[in-house]
Symmetry: C2
Subunit: 170 residues, 2 copies
């Protein structure tokens, strides 16, 4: 905590990073950054009559192949009707395959087809490129802080979903 910052210490600790002005800047940073975050995939998607919802579905199906619709629902946080519409077009277009569950025939297990994986690659390449540039510009320390703050900002339920995904990867 011994920092060489301007030392207008409030109540003994430096809490300048918690002023309303700092928080507001954080809020605006979040708003503008999210626009950048989605801009590149959005451009690819509109060329093919898809939207952000399709991207999200494709991303998480790729991340966890064989996931059920219900599972995906919890991760995406939308109604099943909303997801279903997106899924229907993806299946009709041959990007996603839906297999009836072997154990429980009520469930549908979702997989990307070859075409689906191709689109997934295009989308995440674009998104990763921007993230990579931002990470490189900011450096490893900043990236650690970035992830720490984002994780603290999630609802606890999403925190768990995020951690589960994080640990399943690698």
């Amino acid at each position: 905590m011994a920092d060489g910052r301007p030392s207008a210490a409030i109540s003994g600790e430096n809490l300048l990073f918690l002023t309303d002005e700092q928080l507001r800047q954080g809020i605006e940073a979040m708003f503008f950054a999210y626009r950048g975050f989605t801009a590149d995939p959005d451009r690819i998607l509109t060329d093919m009559a898809y939207g952000r919802a399709h991207h999200r579905a494709i991303h998480f199906i790729n991340r966890a192949p064989g996931t059920t619709v219900n599972n995906l629902l919890n991760i995406l946080g939308v109604t099943k009707q909303s997801l279903n519409r997106v899924l229907r077009t993806l299946i009709a277009d041959g990007l996603v395959e839906s297999r009836v569950g072997r154990i429980d025939k009520r469930e549908r297990h979702l997989y990307l087809t070859d075409d689906g994986r191709l689109l997934e690659g295009r989308l995440s390449d674009a998104q990763r490129a921007r993230m990579r540039a931002a990470f490189r510009d900011a450096g490893p320390e900043a990236v650690a802080g970035f992830r720490q703050v984002l994780e603290a900002m999630m609802d606890s339920e999403m925190q768990r979903a995020y951690t589960r995904l994080k640990e399943s990867g690698t």
Copy 2:
């Protein structure tokens, strides 16, 4: 592009934070965190038949009182038709006031009314509370990193808008 597992130690530097897996975690963190970021204001808004678009307009009018419609358009990155629909309801409901410009009478300058400021306060209190908790949990170093990465992720145009706002405050 997506070269699987790139380059653990390129030229003796630790670039582990740039692996595809790390980038993907960053992407997912961004997705889940943004949900949390908007969750609290959204709850307040749906109670009064408003949406996120109204919140954004209110936020930036409060941030820069007297801003013109065109100005707001550039910051929000939507079409004037889209903004107009939102603005019309806010003005009709007496939350926003639109004054004809004194110098240039074509322009409309936008201000929050007392009621508008009241709602703005409720919304940003909710949003700031979450941001404050996240910032406090993560600590000042992390917050600096968070802001650094977000800024690097913006389109350059938005980066300028963000900086301008940042410098106008305080």
